[in-house]
């Protein structure tokens, strides 16, 4: 049995960032998923969502949930990432000073997602957009 949801994300709209994370969090609580696993899902989703808000024009979050796994796909229309390896380094960020001012853009986003996900695939086409695929096993508590 599986469930699917989709959330739209608007580039630059920091006010509403975090909506998808809150909704997904509530559903995982209803399913009785361990709180440490929920925490990992929410960290991944929130970081990825903020990435879209900070860097892209718009994006879509597709969540596919079954009793064992959550798969999240975040596809954005945006500048894309030229050097993914560099973007994966801790502390690397192309965020504008304004974004950093708001407490975002510390360059921890992608490494943080990678550390919390069980499966993490990032593909990007410069000038077109970036797609993140994140999977987390809902039954294991260990990272």
């Amino acid at each position: 049995m599986a469930m699917s949801f989709e959330y739209k994300v608007e580039g630059g709209d920091f006010t509403h960032a975090g909506y998808a994370s809150s909704q997904v969090k509530k559903m995982l609580k209803q399913l009785g998923v361990d709180s440490t696993v929920i925490k990992r899902v929410v960290v991944c989703l929130y970081e990825a969502e903020v990435n879209i808000v900070a860097h892209a024009y718009s994006g879509t979050i597709s969540v596919n949930l079954d009793t064992d796994t959550i798969n999240m796909k975040l596809a954005d229309k945006g500048p894309g990432i030229a050097d993914i390896e560099q973007a994966m380094q801790k502390g690397f960020s192309t965020a504008s000073p304004e974004v950093r001012e708001m407490g975002f853009g510390a360059g921890m986003g992608l490494p943080n997602i990678s550390a919390n996900a069980d499966r993490f695939v990032i593909t990007s086409e410069p000038g077109t957009g970036t797609t993140l695929e994140i999977s987390i096993n809902l039954n294991s508590a260990a990272v």
Binding site: M1, M3, G18, S22, K29, Q30, L31, G32, I38, T67
Partner: protein, 464 residues
Amino acid sequence: MEKGFFHHALTIREDICTGCSLCMRVCPTGALRIRDGKARLTEDRCVDCGECFRSCPVNAIIIEQDDFSRIFDYKHRVALVPAVLHGQFRHEVSMAEISTVLRSLGFTWVYEVEHGAEVLKPAIEDLMKVRTLPRPLISTYCPAVVRLIQVRFPALIRNLATLRAPLEMAAFYCRKVLRDRGAHNAEIGVFYVTPCAAKIAAVKSPVGEESTPITGVINMDFIYNKINRTLRNKGELARGEEHPYTVDPDTLVWSLTNGEASCVNGRTLAIDGINNVTEFLEQLENDEITGVDYLELRACDEGCAGGVLLSSNRFLVAERLRTKALTLKPVKITPGTEEIPGIEAYSDYLMNKVRITAEIRPRSMYRLSDDRDEAMKMMKRSRRLMCWLPGTDCGLCGAPSCQSLAEDIVRHKADISQCVFIRESNMDKELMDKERSSEIMRRIWGDNNFTKNCNKKGAENESN
């Protein structure tokens, strides 16, 4: 779900409740429903914040307390008094006067709870030095907040600063002093004058099921009335000796908003009001908030000055207490000359007791079923139901929102025909007749709400 996990201090008196549903609408955890014209409590959701008590127009919600005469079962009768009690009286009424009244009621020792915060200050500092603990640490001072975290934010349990409350430290101290002077534990009764329901619930079933040094609770409104009567009747009061163990001005305001946080080093935040706390915890749980070291969270506006058992305006209580703290002259006592050594003399003994060692367990209220497959089915069904429910949250179904009705239905605790919108459309389609619809309405709201009653609030012969 396990029943009776939490002890609750709040009880709904069915004979008084009119089923007006005000409480259902303010409950921050959605723990109340209306059935047969009465408010019903889902116990495992209740965090004893007391919002329902505050909102009830007919005083149908009562807060349990121990029978006052119970204090006389003990040879040594200690009253533990929180500073907010003093904040309820005019500034001219001294703390010593209030102590005198309390002693005249039968207590043998009146001790200010805030002394216990002296022990908490270094204990929090010690805990803050432990680098392996998550940040921010969340104060466990307010029991309603601890319970809110247990039922709604289980991921944040690990952030709880596992320290006992000033109240318990003060109680340990009083017991120790009396024992050192020859009393037996069984002869000592320690009674707490409580400003709220959550504190009662915490005394009766402590966080992590620790043993408690507190014998019983006396509700603050009861004591307030007693003191007020005495002050008004006696004209002049037998002035008691000024209590020599004056509370440190810093800790006197510990229970007010920012009273605790301002005593902690680092980046601290003080948040009051249960809805503000919930909103903040939601963001904290999403990892949206970083760089905060310590959180003081209080369920009531203005902290304990806004406790549900206080009789005076919370802002006045807070202002009076802050003024008192400013004008308080700490009494310097030469060590060794005092009759009873102050709490600082017992700091080693108390520091050994300050940690909560038992585990604080999560009690998620969201979980639909213990079986993941079943929970998934129920979640799907609830989302399907939401397609049909109007989303107006009118409450006529006896649940606080359409979402909560949908969840009640999948938990087999409600029926979709409780929704007035669904019934109306079913009647339009001639799937339901008027009698049936009205019968459902009466089952939710009771027959009384369908008959003329001139005694209700705002009506011709209003009475209580």
